[in-house]
Amino acid sequence: MNGIHDMGGMHGFGPVEPEPNEPVFHSRWESRVLGLTRACGVQGIFNIDESRHAIERMAPGDYLASSYYERWLDRNVRLLVEKGVITREELERRMADLAAGRDPAPAHTDPDLQARMVRTLTERPHFRQPGPPPRFNAGDHIVTRHDAPVGHTRLPRYARGKHGVIARSHGSYIFPDTNAHDGGHQAHPLYSVRFHAAELWGASAESWAPVHIDLWERYLEAAPPER
């Protein structure tokens, strides 16, 4: 989708301002949002691609006005409501309960969930999966598709319809464009593709600043090598 999240190359945002001695979390609620998100993932309530796409579906003005963990919270509520796990009314009622000092949730422990969550910190992710053999080899010239799909995609807007060269084949990875939409988690070949800065940004490009993007074969067409 042509979303506000797709920010590569945008103008107008100003200097990058690092915060000295930044804490891991700025408040407790941020850390709870992170942990709840991980739990939802481990419980199979939503996958990573649905999760990213839910953030992309925020209204652009809200996206820009929200902090990182505010966007995560919005995403969690949005997906849990869409998937029928909670309702917005239920959430409002629970906020009122808690504000009045009542927490009706009975105590619950789940050592198995905890163990599974801890395992995600060290075990290999499962995104790399057997898939069809790659069509391209390192050194092949490609052009990316020029399309504006309404759904989720990981081909950034700044790299649509651009010529590049395959730098490396990564094997096959679950294809986000379908995995975000109940379209299945089939794997497709993934490549590191190198683009010259001038191909992406034209005359205003900095020199000697190529961009490598990880792109699925489904985004790519073979191109003649003259560029």
Binding site: M10, V16, V24, S31, G35, I86, R94, A99, A105, F127
Partner: protein
């Protein structure tokens, strides 16, 4: 955190507590499992883990080769994991810079959660288009003919920069070398500085200012 306790609770905080309470009630979440993950990020996982990987690569050329060929496998040798990792090496004439323009992908299982600036609109929008200007904001001035390779983390691979080992560190142990490696140097917005006594030597090499 603690200085917030006397202030009225924010709507955000209340909303998050309510969400957790609902998920606990539905037996989808256990609060101590959330506690455990949070403490892992607050106490165990951080740049010091990535620094160990970098230092090992500096002292062990065979390990460096394995790390560059397959980062995922090579970090498992040191007991790390949780991430499909690609390591890219800085060399004289090549400097690598990592960004995620579409969200904020970052090798957090190895080096902890990303700083806010990495997730900022400023960094995400500009690192791909004007990396030299962005690097200058971080105090890194690279020679004109140094190639800056930008890695936009658009898939489920995470990128880690293997910074250049500073000159004058031949006598340092692997542990001492790891102490020099910063988070920012593994993202590519800093170079690794030699220990203080060597600062003069580094600036003569044009390694950039603080």
């Amino acid at each position: 955190m603690s200085h917030h306790h006397r202030e009225p609770e924010s709507i955000l905080s209340l909303r998050v507590r309510a969400l957790e309470s609902l998920l606990v009630e539905k037996r989808l979440v256990a609060s101590e499992a959330v506690d455990r993950i949070v403490s892992a990020y607050e106490e165990d996982i951080g740049p010091h883990n990535g620094a160990k990987v970098v230092a090992r690569a500096w002292v062990d050329p065979a390990y460096k080769q394995r790390l560059l060929a397959d980062g995922t496998e090579a970090i498992e040798e040191l007991g790390f994991g949780g991430v499909d990792l690609r390591v890219v090496e800085n060399t004289p004439g090549v400097h690598n810079l990592v960004v995620c323009t579409l969200c904020s992908c970052y090798p957090h299982a190895l080096i902890g959660l990303p700083p806010t600036w990495y997730k900022s609109f400023e960094y995400r929008s500009r690192a791909v288009r004007e990396p030299r200007v962005v690097l200058r904001e971080f105090g890194v001035e690279l020679p004109e003919n140094t190639e800056i390779r930008i890695w936009d983390s658009s898939a489920e691979l995470r990128y880690l920069v293997l910074p250049e080992r500073p000159a004058g560190t031949e006598q340092l142990s692997e542990t001492e070398l790891a102490d020099l490696v910063t988070r920012d140097s593994m993202i590519g917005v800093a170079v690794v500085r030699p220990p203080r006594a060597e600062v003069g030597a580094a600036s003569r090499r044009g390694a950039g200012a603080e």
